[in-house]
Amino acid sequence: MQYAIMVYESEQEFAKRNDATHQEAYWGAYQAYSQALAAAGVAAGGTALHPPHTSTTLWLEEGHRKVQDGPYADTKEQLGGMFIVEVPNLDVALDWAARCPAASTGRVEVRPLLPMNAG
């Protein structure tokens, strides 16, 4: 089964990405995690996201486009990216999620992917 391991980070965590003193440790941890996923043969995709202030939320109201600056949900921790893993079951997915750097610094959400019919 495939699962998305979604990384939720606080503003301070997002700030470490570009902060000279924390940058190396921050990216190093995620790089090591990616490598561990690849080495175990469970990596199946994923992406990092720019911080939430770069986000735009959009919806239609009576056919008219409404646009709002910022992420949809105003919460302390925001989606920072996700890893897709291919593993036998939820227990194994949770073991990998527990090793994700964000499990110690923020929150990690694990959700199964819903495969869609190609045809």
């Binding site: 036998p88 079951n89 939820l90 227990d91 959700r111 495969p115 869609m116």
Partner: protein, 407 residues
């Protein structure tokens, strides 16, 4: 024997085994229940005409299995969503024949119901429904929520089990102790739910205490080397043995220390002692064995006439080390008060965090009692009235009101 009665008998004895077998092979608890329900309907139609099959249980299993296969073939979403469908179909087809007994998969089902990713509040209802076959309405009545709400929660939990890929296997050895603890806790929650409704206005239509004991027996039977499963069974048997002594003939609440030991059930106490002894031989001490040992000390009053409060202080002190629940801390304070002095008991209560004890009835009842013993009557009455407000059982409220009037 008519068809309906035969079907009822098979279901009563084998419901959980049939659901477990089908669920483990289809990875879908709700679909397994539906298929078994369909098979039952088919049985009630067919059996009166064609006569009872030689093996009614296997007949139901084969019929339900066919329904499951049909259902999974017809579900396009499922077909797209589960690459494992082929394997599941194969598993279902290679199921045992009519002659050989089918394997007991109920333990896997119990572990799935109490999986760490399932909301603890729904674990007990899930077990009651999938392993024992209770309807959502019966479970809802026992848990004091509406039938629709309970039904919805059960459906949601079962779709999580199906779609989130919770493994239908026994946990790995390394995880077994913590996973088993979750199973036992859910069973104990059913038992406490049964006690809470005892004699109250809201008597549960389901005899939850009996069902919890049945589930614990099942765990002991399926995992004979698990000391804590025996510990839990012993604990519940000790409590159950005192069932009759908990109320006076007029329905008044009788606290443990004043119960007539002649009313305690000797066979249940003996069985509890036996289970606790067997558990202790396995040399894996745990929370439920300690709680059972505490009950064992109380039970000894029946033979020696007095309670060994110092032994209880020791056992409670051990219990708060491994399972620091509020109940254990308050129990320890009560034992200290009896073994040494009410003042020392009050000191033990003083150390508990205020935000946690605010709504904990046993804390206020004990505090009221101990304050009354040291003649601090105003404070005692305030605690009693707090305890009365928090009591859900009318007999307990009456008892506390009388205690309050005496100080």
């Amino acid at each position: 024997m008519d068809a309906r009665r035969a079907a009822e008998l098979v279901i009563r004895n084998s419901y959980g085994r049939l659901v477990a077998y089908l669920a483990v092979r289809s990875h879908d608890v709700a679909a397994a229940e539906d298929a078994l329900g369909d098979a039952l309907v088919a049985a009630l139609k067919t059996w009166p005409i064609q006569g009872l099959p030689a093996n009614p249980e296997a007949w139901l299993l084969v019929t339900a299995r066919r329904r499951l296969l049909d259902a999974s073939r017809h579900s396009r979403v499922r077909a797209a969503a589960t690459p494992a469908l082929e394997q599941i179909a194969r598993d279902l087809q290679t199921a045992p024949d009519m002659e050989t007994p089918f394997p007991d998969e109920r333990l896997k089902l119990l572990f799935i119901c109490a999986h760490p990713t399932i909301d603890p509040a729904i674990r007990t209802p899930l077990m009651l429904q999938t392993v024992l076959g209770f309807t959502a309405a019966d479970i809802a009545a026992a848990f004091l929520v509406s039938s629709a709400t309970m039904g919805q929660r059960l459906v949601r939990a079962k779709s999580k089990i199906r779609d989130a890929g919770i493994p239908f296997e026994l946990p790995a050895i390394a995880r077994l102790p913590s996973r088993l603890e979750a199973v036992l806790e859910a069973i104990y929650a059913a038992y406490n739910r049964g006690w809470d409704s005892f004699g109250g206005a809201d008597v549960a239509p389901v005899a939850l205490a009996d069902e919890a004991i049945w589930l614990a027996r099942l765990c002991v039977e399926l995992l004979p080397q698990a000391a804590e499963a025996r510990g839990l069974l012993a604990l519940m048997l000790y409590c159950e043995a005192r069932h009759l002594a908990r109320r006076s003939p007029t329905g008044a609440y009788v606290p443990l220390s004043q119960q007539n030991t002649a009313l305690w059930s000797v066979p249940l106490l003996q069985e509890a002692e036996d289970q606790l002894l067997r558990a202790s031989r396995l040399k894996q001490l745990g929370r439920f064995q300690l709680e059972a040992a505490i009950q064992s000390v109380h039970a000894q009053r029946a033979s020696v006439g007095v309670t060994d409060w110092q032994a209880l202080v020791q056992l409670y002190s051990g219990l708060v080390q491994i399972a620091p629940t509020l109940g254990a801390w308050v129990g320890r304070a009560a034992a200290i008060a009896q073994a040494y002095s009410p003042t020392q008991g009050l000191e033990a209560l003083d150390n508990l965090p205020l935000n946690k004890i605010k709504t904990y009835q046993p804390y206020w009842a004990l505090r009221g009692h101990l304050l009354a013993e040291v003649q601090q009557c105003d404070e005692a009455r305030a605690c009693y009235s707090q305890a009365i407000e928090l009591s859900t059982d009318a007999a307990v409220r009456r008892f506390l009101t009388e205690q309050m009037a005496e100080c």
